[in-house]
């Protein structure tokens, strides 16, 4: 193997990349319409939003914690966004900005309480999950907001170029910014340092409290952005938005190979994890699997994808066993 290729094979995103490619090839071989522009667009729509959800969780996995309130924040931001447009008649950009700020504040609150009290993030976000979801239900009384402005609807339905929907644009920008932050900005490196070795980070003069707060604020912001995009895509402000996010938010980074212990994230791998999940979901629809079997097949496919990646890692580790 040439050194360049060898380096690519060793990168953390290579495994999921191969699996995603193989999945695309297999599905497309059996069902050519899979690669039709319309289908690619549908796929990209799903990926755009799910990627933001996964990134939101990934930012917290990076500091070695969990954020159980990802979905609750996303849902609250989504209904606030739609509600501000319907009830108060705010123009879309204003509503979006305020709603995003709300997401940021929700995340910030999580972070501040965790940093101040030193209580584990698991408990705090579990409590705030209830809190945010409750506020959501209290505001909406379980009724959707229908008054989504046409501009927003159009944003959720039109394409920017070829089969690429507008919704993919914010996600792409976020992915780049996150990559830049985690690889080039001190604040991103601090998050990883705290996740990797909190004690060492602290002794190196990094403020753990500040770092934890920042990570949670970013997580809240991303969850909120996902909620807003979902409103644009669904065309209504559903109060149930976010209820199903939790498992997905963990599954995508983990399938992409993230370590739950913290200290390491990979934006491409997480993105590929999302892609794999999206392809599997779609393939199950395309192949007309008995609806009662969908869950079984989904489970086996996840196991297969993760197992394959693990197998590759094990193969790579073996020669390095003798140090």
């Amino acid at each position: 193997m040439s050194p360049g290729l060898s380096r690519i094979v060793r990168t953390d995103w290579f495994g999921p990349f191969v699996i995603a490619l193989a999945a695309i090839a297999i599905v497309a071989a059996f069902n050519p319409s899979f690669l039709s522009p319309l289908n690619i667009q549908v796929l990209l729509l799903a990926i755009s939003i799910n990627a933001l959800i996964a990134f939101s969780q990934m930012s917290i996995i990076a500091i070695g914690q969990m954020n159980l309130s990802v979905g609750a924040i996303g849902g609250l931001v989504a209904i606030s966004f739609a509600g501000m447009m319907e009830v108060w008649g705010f123009p879309a950009p204003v509503a979006a900005t305020l709603a995003l700020a709300l997401g940021l504040v929700c995340g910030l609150l999580n972070g501040l309480v965790i940093a101040w009290t030193g209580i584990s993030a698991f408990i705090i976000t579990l409590a705030s999950l209830s809190l945010y979801k409750g506020i959501n239900l209290g505001i909406t009384q379980a009724q959707p907001f229908y008054g989504v402005l046409d501009a927003v609807k159009a944003f959720g339905q039109t394409n920017v170029l070829g089969p690429i929907p507008w919704l993919a644009v914010p996600t792409a920008i976020v992915a780049l910014l996150l990559w830049y932050m985690f690889n080039r900005l001190p604040v991103g490196r601090f998050i990883l340092a705290v996740g990797g070795n909190q004690h060492a980070a602290e002794l190196s003069g990094i403020s753990v409290g500040f770092t934890v707060t920042v990570a949670h604020a970013i997580s809240g912001l991303l969850a909120g952005l996902a909620g807003i995009l979902l409103v644009a895509r669904l065309q209504i402000g559903q109060p149930t938005i976010g209820d199903d996010w939790l498992i997905l938010s963990f599954a995508a980074p983990v399938i992409g190979g993230a370590v739950l212990a913290g200290g390491h994230v990979s934006i491409p791998a997480t993105l590929l994890g999302v892609v794999i999940v999206a392809i599997i979901t779609q393939a199950l629809v395309l192949f007309n699997i008995d609806p009662y079997l969908v869950q079984v097949v989904l489970g086996f496919l996840i196991l297969g994808a993760v197992g394959l990646n693990r197998f590759r890692e094990a193969r790579l580790e073996r020669p390095a066993g003798r140090i």
Binding site: L45, I49, L234, Q235, T240, N288
Partner: protein, 340 residues
């Protein structure tokens, strides 16, 4: 309050004026409990208030479990009993699983009526006042097939498989299709939540839009999402029959993207349900020879009215439902109950 609810509320008001059955204020304290937070039930709140006023009840409160979970609903019901509620209109979180809680409530002297959905026999519910889910799906499919041309390939979008009603709907759609020589090409289930519905329905239409002629939806969220999806691809060739009265679906009917929707009568269920609970508590019993109907779950079924609404009826469907409610209410006591 959504527009629909408001209109339905007016309907209730009108109904109450016509009603003469104003009873003296009593200690009847009823709870109207849906399976979880859901827009379908929003009309229950107003109906409960109207009923409490019209029939002089101490209360007919709309109480919502925090989540769409059987255990949450059970805990809420237990708590309501502890709070002194003495009559329950329940949408069963599970048509079998809620039976035991219903039995417990009845054992504590609180009559139970299943509303909107039924408890599977045998159960301690006095009767089931609601929409026959299977029948509604059957009628909707018939309507859809009627709107189709020669090619009759149907796709069915429905809710969670853990809900036994889902299987009833799948069977009913299949039956209607078989009778009319149509073909159900695919059933997509487990999509009664916005994200998966959006993903799977769009994925399906992207790949198979050309291979299907009609869409039948038998759950709230898939109806909304499918209506939006059809509007988005601008395809009026594919016919669709939805379910319930979400504004998105109604608007799509007006704009011609959706053929029609199967309406139910939530306001009527709660209003008449509260009335019947009061009667049951004051010593009335269900007549031995009451013309109860049978459906897949129970032999104690009373149809609260289900109707297909197409483009021609969408503007005045409220009147139709009001008429149905009034017709049912006027004869309800005489038809179904014996009172001392």
């Amino acid at each position: 309050m959504s527009r629909v609810t408001r209109v339905l509320a007016c309907a209730g008001l009108a109904l109450s004026v016509g009603s003469t059955a104003v009873l003296a204020a009593d200690d009847s304290k009823f709870a109207l409990v849906p399976g979880g937070p859901h827009p379908y039930f929003s009309a229950w709140e107003q109906a409960g208030k109207d009923a409490a006023r019209d029939f002089g009840l101490a209360a007919a409160d709309y109480k919502v479990p925090q989540k769409w979970e059987l255990s949450q609903q059970n805990q809420l019901l237990e708590s309501l009993l502890s709070q002194g509620y003495n009559g329950f209109l329940i949408f069963p979180g599970d048509s079998v699983g809620t039976g035991s809680t219903a039995a417990e409530l009845v054992a504590n002297g609180a009559p139970v009526i299943a509303g909107a959905g039924c408890l599977q026999d045998p159960s301690d519910a006095a009767f089931c006042l609601g929409t026959d889910t299977g029948n509604s799906a059957y009628l909707g499919t018939k309507q859809l097939i009627g709107a189709l041309g020669d090619s009759k390939r149907i796709v069915h979008f429905t809710g969670f498989l853990v809900d036994p009603n889902t299987q009833l709907r799948i069977d009913a759609v299949q039956r209607a299709a078989d009778e009319a020589g149509a073909q159900v090409v695919q059933v997509i289930a487990d999509i009664d939540a916005p994200e998966p519905a959006e993903e799977k329905i769009n994925a399906y239409l992207a790949a198979h839009a050309g291979e299907v002629d009609g869409i039948i939806t038998t759950a709230w969220v898939p109806a909304v999402v499918a209506a939006n999806a059809l509007r988005k691809i601008g395809d009026k060739r594919i016919k669709m029959v939805g379910i319930d009265h979400d504004e998105v679906v109604l608007q799509a009917i007006k704009d011609g993207f959706v053929t029609g929707t199967m309406l139910q009568n939530p306001y009527g269920q709660a209003y008449i349900g509260a009335f019947a609970l009061d009667k049951l508590r004051s010593g009335c019993t269900v007549k031995q020879d009451a013309p109860l109907m049978a459906n897949a779950l129970t032999a104690k079924f009373i149809d609260s009215g289900t109707a297909f609404v197409g483009a021609d009826g969408v503007d005045n469907y409220v009147d139709a439902m009001r008429a149905a409610t009034k017709a049912l209410f006027d004869t309800f006591e005489a038809t179904y109950l014996t009172c001392q």
